[in-house]
Symmetry: C2
Subunit: 163 residues, 2 copies
Amino acid sequence: MNIVSKARMRGSPRPISKQRLRLWLRLLRSSRAIESQLRERLRTKFSITLPQFDVMAALARSDEGITMTELSRQLMVSNGNVTGIVDRLVAEKLVLRQAPVSDRRSFIVRLTPKGASQFSVIAKAHEGWIDEMLVEFGSVEAESIISQLDGLVRRVRAREARS
Amino acid sequence: MNIVSKARMRGSPRPISKQRLRLWLRLLRSSRAIESQLRERLRTKFSITLPQFDVMAALARSDEGITMTELSRQLMVSNGNVTGIVDRLVAEKLVLRQAPVSDRRSFIVRLTPKGASQFSVIAKAHEGWIDEMLVEFGSVEAESIISQLDGLVRRVRAREARS
DNA sequence: TCTAAATATTTTATGTTTGTAATATATCGC
DNA sequence: GCGATATATTACAAACATAAAATATTTAGA
């Protein structure tokens, strides 16, 4: 019998399910805190929204560009949604849609040269902001939490597929 | 000199700033994965949105109700936004606005009896879902991550105040 | 004390992002 | 070719952010 079960038997006010709930609330609060910082800085320093930056980051990872569906999958955002974000980036001439010859249903989205060069500047600043905000996390801690969160996401996705 | 700096000197492909960036991306991905699960379950099982649930949860923590501004602060959501969410909850008769005698600028928002009783049912299910999703986190791990995330939020808030 | 400026609280206005559902078009399997 | 599937867009409503406006309170100064 572990410490937690013993604690519950003694009527402790902190059963494991409450602790997990607290963990979730902290996870949520941290994400929101970081997101709102990023959002504000991207807006004031670079006049771009966070979702738009996220799209550009996904595109920057592959030279040939990626499809709308793949974009939606990577950003964990509905596909109907990606359309609007890409539309605005296209209007700014930061990305472009290419019709691939193989499949006329889909579009390949790519960074324009202008988009790529702007992105590299913004990404550098972005990395610096994150580095500052997460400065208390050392290498070992970071890797440990990363692997735990990966496990969490796998579990949630499996659950999702089941339902 | 620590391991990380040594690794950087040898030209390692994983400097600490990249690790922190990865940590941030995992944090974001996990939150989104959990959020989308919660959102879907709240919608299908209880016909309520996640933000509406969040508001009810904040209200449930204090019997006397709280002001719009306090609600906005706790949810980390803009105040202009809370108005709409509360409006919808008022329309459903789950919460009500009360004008306090002391300060006629503000409103106290409270759960109605109907809201309180519905919330307690939903909250129970919610806690179970979280418990399942975070099942891989034990008590010690959870507390450790919680305290690290608390530190992170403090740091981000301090940074925010400075700028 | 009394009034004007500063501050606080909320709502409204506008635009972007989000989700779900429905639709249009293209591809694939049979 | 035809039905099932895949890809993207459109339609609609909720949620979000920022900024401005409306109202109430507090503070400071004459």
